[in-house]
Symmetry: D2
Subunit: 334 residues, 4 copies
């Protein structure tokens, strides 16, 4: 059960609510976010929910039987919109496009891609500066100095930034240079990182784990929300299966399942979802007609020379064509 | 290596070709189909392919290193079209829609669905009379009498029939009442059935196995082709993964991978691909923009009362809307 | 619900039982096997099972809620023993060893392997004459003539034969030369084949499908049992996963799960379960301590020259050592 | 290529080695561990390895083509032994048993389990104080104070401790109270954590990821080793598959594959590997005969009342019996 409290609740009202929760043998966790105060109540007894709903100080109350609570659509039926400012939103019925290189490499690269994004009216740029790599000997990204450069160029050009955070100690140093923190597939159940991102007032995009279930993704989102941050975006990026003809199996089914189970926006990542450049655009389009709130893909002036993931990265021409098709589909899917 | 022979080849030309194959230590399997005569040659030595190509009686020759040969696009670059007659084709750049119930139940049911198909300009009806069921105690279909009734109504109305064949002994009795034989997921590697269907001059649609790889699907198609039947259609219908939020994981990636690897048409089955009625239309649309040559889905007047698979079956209104959307997408994807 | 009938039941007793089943709105399927007559009753209503159990002509009655019925341990708590005659049994608390080549190749090969089996007190020989192969161009086995030769040599030497049957039409011709029919992984849900094997009075070993669930394996066994054949053996042979370091993932967990869910004997196939010769013996031993009723593995005088599956086949020395270790473990596991 | 340097190498020798590496266009990463100094050299050119081996200051040199290097058996053929002091070792041909509760709960619980371990000659106790939980509302462990209590009781009794570390900031505070740091499945690719554990001179046990490949596990170990810590132990704990009859699929094949690919010791975790109490002992025994260097399992005085994972936890009697059987098997497997 979730109880949303009135903003102007007084102490005695609050105590009566606590007593009512105790009376039915539930345990309450208090959650304060940017937007509201909630009590997430866990228990097993049956009771009349109206007895809680009628208490003073209670704004709203709902039963949520899922293991995830605050991110469930049983709690909030309307879809949430994440607002990055300057008119850039995610989850507002439209299709938000995010694009950029796998890794930030240097100033020239960033400037060229920023120019490409502006020409195609893309408002959000992706690009990694802390790179999780299977091998310790691979390129691990430019680090915080790379992020500062990346951020300066983007702000100059009205472009928002999404980039991956890998550990708790990076959050503070990255904070001022980032518009959306990204949690990668390998950190999808790094619970300490999720806890810490819950204490930040910046949007967080969480990728589904390598072979994470849909329920696990929602519980990971619940970690962040229950620590105080409602600005959440989910991302389907393919799962691991027995098929070896491509990198991952993009789970097209997951888009609608997620839209049904949660009020959070859902983004499709076709670059990791298939991992083969020739197929990325088709998977992006499939994600769009399946109902995704946006698409995030990898683009580079010369994919063959990218510092990482070149085999799944579009060039500018392919990217331009994809944007045109995605916008045509946006009209069809309404 | 595949060698296509001239139609009017004479014995001495043929012998010289055999000698040339022996000379390089290859073994040749002779394949006669509706359209042509081929020699599929298997071996390991390196040789100058022009020495074969220049022989009299050879129409065409190509190396094909894959384990599947005649179905490979390395052999035939242009996509194959399967023609059902009366202007009904599959693989002709357009999007072919096939729809119908999971099981044929009775005459009234068939007539109602046929009327629905005609209203929506759908020319091919699916419907099972031999049903593979996990449990021996479940409904196994109306059998051959049901097929005769189904066929009579469809022919009356200019509708083509696709239906599943489960074993070799059914082929002859079904032959005259069927336009496309369907091989189900569980029989995807029933090699005796595939062999026998290679000897029939009717199109065959092969579904990917429960957890069959893309290469295995192509090798199953090779079984039929190498027995003499070129009229083949492949069908992606979802694979088994760890995710339990739906029935199967529709492998959207497979559509383009297949279109690249083979010249055969590729059909999407969203009903089995996700298994939940509310999501079927979105998956069908995704399959279409991903490049499928067609879509096959389950429809019933009252899905809740269907003899089988009701939970993944559209009603007439949902089906009508889906057809409209699929046709809009057909224009976008050109 | 399963009802076992008395052998000497009369018509009026039988009718009263039918009426009692109808009265609770259940449907009964009659099953006659080598050993007994059963009524498998399917329905949803709640009722007092004693009202059935007290009827004349009823020998035993139990509720079985699983989708498989007659193979469930809810029906029969004691483990079944399959008796091949001449003192060769499977499921009798001991560890039955079966070994032999992937494919029967020629008389010399069979004689050498038979001699090896006798030296190591192995009483059952495996060996395929009908080989399911992914590619139509691969070796498909010696066929029925090979089986006759194989059978003659084995009978001469007191060795029992297990070999794969691939289609219904082979059952009759194979019948007299076979001691155990094997259903391969790819035919695990070939329901027509299962139906037909239910009508034969010979033991059948069913392999788990490529990615078949444990429940599906049990339902496949139910197909055979419900057609009249109780002499069933189940075989775990590895499942398909994302891991590519070996051929299949041997599901060691499945052994005990199966022993709990069914009364049928369970055999481990380490050759297919891992697919790498060096590891086969260790997996066989693991299967034995995990509680398998037997082990089936591939052995050949010169694995490197085997017609198929040589990479997972033991030579005679390795096989001898494995037998010794398996017999040591047999004592430990008691 | 890996170069092990002489301990007493001088600067000019070192420079000549660097030049030789540059000359063949390789990049060298310097690795200093508790035991030795290495240069891990990455490049693509072909060269005569003897030209490196003959340089002064080079103790040993080998090519290692795998993506993991220092943990490969191509580098070090002899199996590594991890020594915890006081005669407790892992990887020394014997079978090391580790057991304990999922979560440390209180002093009484720890004392009772310690007594049980001593009675059964088990020298290492597992027990979590920082618990990764899918849901943010679940019990997350007693934390550092729990560890101090746990440690005090164990030291008093000559028992070594293995416990999970979840984030970098916990390493320092845990350091003095831990004998083996455990990295859980969900953190198997938490590369920052792995980096940091490479700088500690304490053994680390790394669990395979939920659906991590064997190669990924080895690369995770390479992270720690390449940061300076050679004291590594790998743990197979089951992978995620389509089968739902149990928690995870224990990958029995992985034991031998790992023993072949790496010189590090390999431990089996049957509790997570199957997740069902009744089957844990059989899976432990299977792991032992398959060649594991040890077994880690969950035990509790009253599993039904355990704070977490009770459904896969043995009671004292079951644990005692398992120890006896494991020791019997230890003799068989030699």
């Amino acid at each position: 059960m979730i109880i949303q409290l009135q903003n102007k609740i007084n102490l005695s009202q609050r105590e009566k609510i606590n007593e009512a929760i105790k009376a039915i043998n539930y345990k309450a966790a208090e959650v304060k976010t940017q937007y509201a105060n909630y009590l997430v109540c866990i228990g097993k007894n049956d009771f009349d929910i109206r007895s809680i709903g009628s208490l003073e100080g209670v704004k709203d109350v709902h039963r949520v039987s899922e293991s995830y609570k605050l991110v469930s659509r049983k709690w909030k039926v309307n879809h949430s919109v994440v607002d990055l400012g300057d008119g850039v939103t995610i989850g507002n019925n439209g299709l938000t496009i995010m694009a950029g290189p796998c890794s930030i490499e240097n100033e020239t690269q960033v400037r060229k891609i920023v120019a490409h994004l502006k020409e195609n009216s893309i408002r959000i740029m992706r690009g990694g500066v802390f790179k999780p790599r299977s091998s310790p000997y691979a390129f691990r990204g430019l680090g915080i100095e790379g992020l500062k450069m990346f951020s300066a160029i983007c702000r100059e050009n009205g472009i928002k930034i999404i980039t991956e955070v890998m550990q708790v100690s990076q959050i503070a140093e990255m904070h001022d240079y980032v518009d959306v923190f990204q949690v990668g597939a390998r950190n999808s159940q790094n619970f300490n990182l999720l806890d810490a991102l819950g204490e930040v007032d910046k949007p967080v995009l969480i990728k589904r784990g390598m072979s994470g279930t849909i329920d696990e993704l929602l519980q990971s989102a619940e970690y962040i929300f229950s620590n105080g941050n409602e600005k959440l975006i989910l991302c389907e990026r393919g799962i691991r299966t027995f098929e070896n003809a491509y990198r991952n199996t993009f789970d097209i089914n997951a888009i609608q399942v997620l839209k049904d189970k949660t009020h959070l926006p859902v983004i499709a990542d076709p670059s990791h979802g298939v991992g083969i450049r020739d197929y990325v655009s088709k998977i992006a389009m499939a994600g769009a007609v399946a109902g995704a709130d946006g698409v995030i893909y990898e683009v580079h002036e010369i994919p063959e020379e990218a510092a990482s993931d070149g085999q799944q990265t579009l060039n500018f021409e392919e990217s331009k064509l994809l944007c045109q098709k995605l916008r045509m589909l946006e009209e069809v899917r309404v």
